[in-house]
Amino acid sequence: MSMKLLMGNEAIARGAIEAGLNFAAAYPGTPSSEIIGTLAEWAEEFEYYVEWSVNEKVALEVAAGAAYAGAYSLVAMKQVGLNVASDPLMSLAYIGIKGALVVVVADDPGPHSSQTEQDTRTFAKFAKLPVFDPSSPEEALMMTKDAFELSHRYGIPVFLRPTTRVCHATAGIRFSAVEKNQPEGFVKDSKWVIFPRLSYVRHQWLEEQQLKLSREFDSNRWNYIQSGKKIGILAGGVSVLYVREAAAILGIQPAILKIGNPYPLPTGKISEFLDQVEEVVVVEELDPVLEEGLIAVAGQKGFTGKIHGKISGLLPRAGEYSIALIKKVLANILGMPDSEEITPESGNEKAPDLPVRPPVLCAGCSHRASFYAVKRATKNANAIYTGDIGCYTLGNAPPLSMVDTCLCMGAGVTIAQGLKRVEPDRPIFAFIGDSTFFHTGIPGIINAVYNNHPVKIVILDNSTTAMTGHQPHPGTGKKAAGTAGEIIDPVQVVKACGVKFVETTNPLDLKSAEAVIRRAMEFQGPAAIVMRAPCANTFKPVRRFRIDREICSDCGRCLRELGCPAFYREDSGVKAALQIGPACHGCGLCSQICPLGAIKAE
């Protein structure tokens, strides 16, 4: 049988199934989202339960509950999701689980699609929980299975920490047999109830496990030495592969200690490695987790060779690593020329300036209409617009420029309240997406009502979690595996939270949307406007618009105010006539602002 090309995230899903998965929960977040997406597709065939939970804390807790009853359970999130889930995580490390619980947390060195570059290995160290750190999709599959086995044997949650270049890389994968786990059921016991006295006892127990795990990792298949000469390299994650390729290009054979379990560190293996080398380079993205561990071992055993890495200032702590970077560093240490190869550009004159190509709201995106309506209604009002995380963060770009703050999920509605107390005379609008509303928006809205912060909350209800790949959420009534669930209407929720002004409008009807916003501004007290129109990426356009060249005076107002990417000019300059290209999604917003009525449906 030929191999199937799977993405790292799909390989993790497959590994979980092969390990005997009973239960999976997650909240989406790049680069982790496809794990549950894949599990949802295969749920029926392999008979496990899978859900999109409302946020990461909820996902971890439901997954822990399933594990309390003996299930093989998985929870997945992106690295910042772990901040939201950190409260249950810290206690769960003490309490432990039955069954098995694998916590998949995807890190994003770069970052490509995240608000921080936090390192989950550091978090795992803080929580005192073991970690598997794969280098490739193949390893991700095998490590997932080992993580379930380890979690079951020790009765503690275990981390799997892939990074973007594992999650979103693909490789040929061979499938193995699927194990079955039959959950035993929940057995009542005082050990499930955390109390200070129990915490002390369990803390001691957890510390003992650290030592046992470290010894176990000294000899498992994920931490091994590839012997070589001259110089030693300690590396983990995808960096190991970059090291191998850089060494091959330079034609050197360093000794390599590959660490697949960065916590608790296999210190015995590190000590063995230090006996074989004279000098060490530590290569790992983000925090110096391996490096600090190695320095501690080196200090204890009196290793006198040089240790190069982030602490010595040689390698950066921020950003993604590359083969080129590692090649340069190794060449430098070994005193080799980093042979500047003949590059394709050499001999060529200066390269022409390239266009900047930032991500933008799609043509026909309903968020554009919502932002534009609020912008018009608040013209000259000196308003502040707090934003949040989702596609709608892209509303910060000109010409809309409608996102003044963005911090973390749910913070738009709350930051607005602090601003309002200090700036009582300025209108404050808080934008929040529908998935973000369910994730962490609701407590902030209750706070606005309870403490009477008269902010104007704009809920951008596009019936999907668009940014992360269009997952369903409680407002859509669709569930992970495609079945129908209860629809939870943000309008009812906001009313139940005590907001007295709640109106729903279609932002693509510009006049009525503006009227609603004006009414909300006049209202004394917190107000909510639900802007309801589906994400343009979830349906096919039924019409397209074009500019009637007979009527158009080329004033450029539609382009200048909306910045819809469907607009273009043939010659890239400002001379050629403005046109609407085939990317038009037919939202009709531009036709509503053309002063001459030159934009018409085809």
Binding site: H112, S113, E345, M467, S572
Partner: protein, 196 residues
């Protein structure tokens, strides 16, 4: 025809670079070759610059092609091809769709798009570059969104791939939903004929 080949696909979010890289890699696997890819997935997919790396026959290495390591540059868009040309080998080959996707920064006049200069710059590179108007061919096939199939068809006719054109088309059509297979089949064939 080498059995080791690094292909870099450069384009704009929404042009289907991810599908193209998966098709090439799966077709290689079906022919008993090792293959891996790395793609840009996430925020940049909203009309930003995206790159897909396809590595065929590289055993122990990562999914990213090193600088100046790509044997083939598949440019879905001219400016993105130039942005990616640091990755191509001096002895490499480039196939570039000449139809530009002008970002809204260009239409707004805040960013340049010197198409002719970009084209000249690419031509002056010491690598073999072929241009194709994949947008036009995709439109002829029936949908401008089938640029990726046009490009795959054209690439598979160069004789550079260790996989037959028919195998690539089979994988492509298999990965697509039923209702768009016809138009993509036409697009692939138009691309294949274009370089003749």
């Amino acid at each position: 025809m080498a059995d080791k080949l690094d292909i870099l696909i450069a384009g704009v979010g929404g042009q289907g670079t991810v599908l193209a890289s998966r098709v090439l890699a799966q077709a290689a696997l079906n022919n008993g070759l090792l293959a891996r890819t790395a793609e840009t997935i996430g925020m940049a997919q909203r009309e930003g610059s995206v790159q897909s790396h396809v590595r065929i026959g590289m055993p122990d290495f990562g999914p990213l092609i090193p600088e100046y390591g790509a044997d083939v540059l598949l440019g879905f868009e001219p400016a993105e091809a130039q942005r990616a040309c640091r990755l191509i080998k001096p002895s490499g080959f480039g196939l570039v769709n000449i139809h530009p996707v002008r970002p809204v920064t260009v239409t707004l006049g805040t960013s340049p798009y010197p198409l002719e200069e970009i084209q000249q710059y690419l031509c002056a590179l010491p690598v073999k570059i072929l241009f194709i108007n994949a947008f036009e061919l995709a439109t002829v096939a029936g949908n401008f969104r089938t640029i990726n199939s046009v490009m795959l068809g054209a690439l598979s006719s160069t004789g550079l791939l260790p996989v037959k054109a028919a195998d690539i088309k089979d994988v492509l059509l298999e990965m697509l939903p039923e209702r768009v297979r016809g138009v993509n089949d036409r697009a692939f064939e138009l691309g294949k004929e274009a370089l003749r």
